[in-house]
């Protein structure tokens, strides 16, 4: 875990990344229930990865003397999720959201946090590709696509 002094902007970026991880943890609960076999096993692995990332971000924020943003009681899904196909789409969308969440950290001036954010973008970008079956030119940066 990187050791960092933080400004308000840096804390906000950490909180936003944490909020994205909260959303992913919730969303995988929805997706996993509609998947089976290898897809369900992958969803479980990815869900656990997001829980670990969430805990890391929480600890970083606490260490900075702030209160980590809490998970919402429920989340608005980006589209109806009723079957395995839409569950896989949801998983890809969740990973896109998390990648975008970490991209915000890359914009801070603190080099340690910037590097942390850039490296943290890699796993969700790869997981999004695994769920979608195709790549995108600018992970986490939809405006550039």
């Amino acid at each position: 875990m990187p050791k960092i002094p933080a400004t308000i902007g840096e804390l906000q970026a950490l909180q936003a990344a944490l909020a994205a991880e909260h959303a992913a943890v919730y969303g995988y609960g929805v997706a996993g229930a509609l998947l089976s076999g290898a897809d369900q096993a992958r969803a479980l692995t990815d869900w656990q990865a997001h829980q670990e990332a969430r805990d890391t971000l929480r600890a970083m924020i606490v260490k900075l003397g702030a209160i980590p943003v809490a998970a919402s009681a429920g989340y608005q899904l980006p589209f109806p999720v009723r079957d395995a196909r839409s569950a896989r789409r949801l998983a890809a969308a969740l990973e896109d959201g998390v990648t975008q969440g970490y991209l915000g950290l890359v914009a801070v001036t603190n080099q340690t946090l910037r590097t942390f954010g850039a490296l943290a973008m890699l796993p969700p970008a790869k997981r999004a590709v695994a769920w979608r079956g195709s790549t995108v030119a600018f992970p986490g940066m939809p405006s550039a696509r």
Binding site: T109, T115, A118, A125, V129, T135, P139, S143
Partner: protein
Amino acid sequence: MLAASTTTLPLFLALSACAGPNPLAGPPPLSADVRALLRAVAAEQNLISLYNRTMAAYSALVPALTPLLAEHQAHLAQLRARIIEPPGKSVPGKVTSKPAIPGTQAAALAQLRTAEQAASTAQLQRLATASPSLAQLYASIAASEATHVTMLDVRSSR
């Protein structure tokens, strides 16, 4: 979700006769962030050349590699868009590295994989001197290139 800062801050190539104490002394040296940007442009051009030459040598790879090549072309366009070229000057467009294409398809894929991994690592090393907006572009391209490594691994295992 956090909306990424996408403010575009083009970097000026310090090649024109802009304000300075002595216009006859030649152009001022390029700043570290402009030099890094030019290196990123050159790296994308080299990757695009490698993809084109690999696809020319192994036509069976064209369907799998075409989407990845298109993404590198998009990266190059975004990187070049961050540079404002003074009238009469242009960003160098030549390929600076042209390794031979290996004699087998598997080795050619492995060479692409190595190049993608190196490119992704290099993008991350450019973060330190970059503006926030440019750092986000480098990080996004690094993530894209990391996903290309994964796709090439999948293709190699078939």
